[in-house]
Amino acid sequence: MAFLLWIVLFAPWIGFLATALLPRLSDRMYQAIHIVLQSVALVAVGALWSRFHPASSHYQAVVRLPWFSFPDAWHGANLTIGLNFGIDGLSLGLLSLAAVVLWLIAVSTRVPEGLGKARAMWVQLASFAVFATFTALNIFTFLLAIEVTLFATFFLLLRLSEADSQRTAIKFLLYRGVASVFLIVSLVGFAFSSAATMAEPLTLGYQQLAARAQGVATANAALSAHYSAPQWIFLLLLLGVFIEEAFVPLHNWFPDAIKNADTGTAMLVGGVLTKTGAYALLRFGVGMMPADVKIFTYVLATVGIGNLLYGAFAAWSARDWRRLISFSSISHMGLVLFAIGTMQADAIQGAMFLLVSSGLITSLLLLTTSRVKARTLTLEWRQLSGLAKPLPILSGFLLFGALATLGLPLTSGFIGEFQSFFGGFAVHPTFAFIGLLGLILSAVYSLTAIRKTTFGPFTDRAAAAAYEDARMAEWWPIALLTMLVLFIGIVPYPLGHVFLSAVHRLLPIGG
């Protein structure tokens, strides 16, 4: 099974190298290479699903690439640094989300004139890095992947953005750069501190660190106690996560990036990159510092619910689709944070669902609105009205996207929200109650947006007559996303099963 993970990781890496080194091909050729390799990765992720054993308590499909070692890093012992990859339920779910979104970026978004090479190169590097982020098995690999994601996306924003590219790119770089510093300091600090406290060898591997946190003996350590990290380590982690997930007031980079980026990069940022923060919180917070999560549960609940509401209000007051999409994503991530903070199995499973669902819905909306924008040349509501008549298919998808955003039953969002609140009411009933207000608001803002754009009289009849509705070639990727959202909503069992195994791994025994 490990070879499948090899393929997933190295297809985009080979694509990156090929694109970077092959001189002077046409844009089409670059795109062809990109699509082929991204499809290979997607198929390999699909194959991983068929081989995955949810019942197993080990990481699966483990790939180890020993790299180098820092001599005498800890009490005379070497610290071996390798690139280790593997999957558990959580990794698999998010890896699939990333593979789907990145594949859609390759096949369905427009390549700006003359920038085929730059786009193919940096998207594939970013996709390697994102896959590596979600499948890393040690802290070093994770941090390296985060840094590579950072600068690949920086170049995407810089080269491809539709407006104000320089400011957007630098802002992105600085915010997420600071976040990666917090992650580096907190995670390396965690590894050293756990080695010092437990008088064990220094290790960066997830398995051993999690075992120490839960007091479970592994092959090379006999533990009788469990290790809990100092609070400042957790606080630094939390700060990093807050920036990565674009939480208010550290969210400033995110709406800008979504608004100015080209569709593909916006899908990458909104659909995948904001999920890395939550992934880090689940993996390191819940999995390795459970005691701290419990201590700071009120902080998580406050920030989470605060963002849920703030995102909803900001989305309500938005004047165009891109802004609405970015703030609704922030709002969803607020709920994820709240759910994680409760440390309830149900809620955490819900949070995982929400991550996948929010990534899919954000991509769906971004893709649909990009098709609309290709016709109307704007996404501002005061210039859009009555689109349902000239563009029935696109309006239909837009409506579906809006309904999925507000978490209608039978869509993927519903399960996540239901489970999060189910767990939330058990621990923080007051917060959960206030949070429900956010759900109502999400219905208000998404339906307002729909009412303003698709219904009503058309402002410019002559222009409207010229609009052609989307053809098959344009709408099939959107339809595919729609089906995925519906599939997860109607048949949640496969994904839920995989996530449940992850929840049991992450939560300490009896937690």
């Binding site: 820092f70 001599p71 770089l173 050293f192």
Partner: protein, 498 residues
Amino acid sequence: MSLATLLQAHLWTTMGPLFVVGMTAIVVMVLELFLPAASRKFIVLLAALGVVVAGVVLVHTMSVPPELSLDTMVSDGLATVSSMLLLATGLLVLLLHLDVNESEEMPRESSFLLLFALVGALAMVTAVNLVALYIGLELLSVSSYVLVALRKRHRQASVEGSMKYLVMGGIGSAVFLYGVSFIYGLTGQTSLYALAQASLSLWQHDAAIAVIAFLLIVVGLGIKLSLVPFHMWTPDAYEGAPSSVAALISTLSKTATFALALRVLVYIFNGGAHDLFPYIAVLAAITMLAGNWLALTQHNLRRLLAFSSVAQAGYLLIPIALFGTASVREWPDLYDNLLFYLAVYTFLTIGAFAVLHLLEHHRDVTMADGLTGFAKKSPWLAASFIVFLLGLAGMPLTGGFVGKFYIFTSTVQTGVLWLGIVLFATSVLSFFYYFGLIRTMFQSPLPTYGDAAQGQAEGRTPVPVATGIVIALCLFGTVALGVVPGILLHPLALVQWF
């Protein structure tokens, strides 16, 4: 001293490279005086050959156990490894000098000064006696002052830069020496080994004077290392100097001075005064913060690199600052950290200055906005410049990342984590200007009438062979230390440092 004693084996073990480079310097000096101007290429190549021979001698001495000759020169791990790095630096700088020498129309008498600077640097890392260390420091400094002034194309900036360098450097030497004189007065010793023995009694009897001596020595070395707030000369000297000399003063003298600072501070003060080392940590933090902060506002490429090297000096100071809390068992790690990052920094800086030289000479670029369209016109050159900038910013897959990460693990291990946080936080600050440069390279140049056609015709920047080799070597070093850092980390771990 007769020739026979000069060639005695134990002197060669400790001073072999020093002799070879020194003799080459004298030969080159005489040749530069008598040979016609047309043969300057030959002379620089001869100088480079001398450095290579010195390297061979050094490799030969490595099999011999460490020795102490004349109670002054030593061939311990620090001396050998730093000498190796210095000779490599010298070779790269001389190769770069081959082209700079012609394009800058420098006076002929420049290669021998580079070699004398190298001799001084070698003396600084091999000597364990304060007198010899001071001579080495001054030999390096005085040669550098002259070298900075030799840029003919920008005569005035060059002389002014040199003047400022000389004044600040002179003050630095005097302050350092004043501190050293107190150390001598309290112990009657100038040998570092004897001082390490005397260290504890120093602190029991005359702590106040010893503290003053410590502060004076730190300030003096701080001026030489361009630590904030003693960095004022740095941007001016860098701006005025010929490219190869700028590369020299930012790498060779840094390596040598850091090795000297390590020896002096650790041997003399660590025995009785760990509690003073946190002040060095504060100095490192201020240097990292201010260096990066000042670089943010720079548009002149050389001044930007100057402030970036100030910031890098802050990173390099961290291992020295950590000696205060490290246990003796952890000392070798700190030596490893310092030398590894120095090696990485050397490659990055020389590479960046080599590209900058081509930019200045062939495209007349001195300001950051002159880089517009560079990526399109000379993709390979731009790509290597980007790698050097990414390395300086500490991005993965370059040696810069491994070096910073390695230093960071030491800060965690010795319990001075806050310094590690400052290290990474200021690195993010540095993203702003390094990535700003990269951003500019990808911008398309503003269309201006008349100039546009000329800009198109200008096309690719030509790369002379020697500079090309320097860039390729630096690129190789940067990437190799980032991708397979084991090739340097493990040999370093085996070194018997003291």
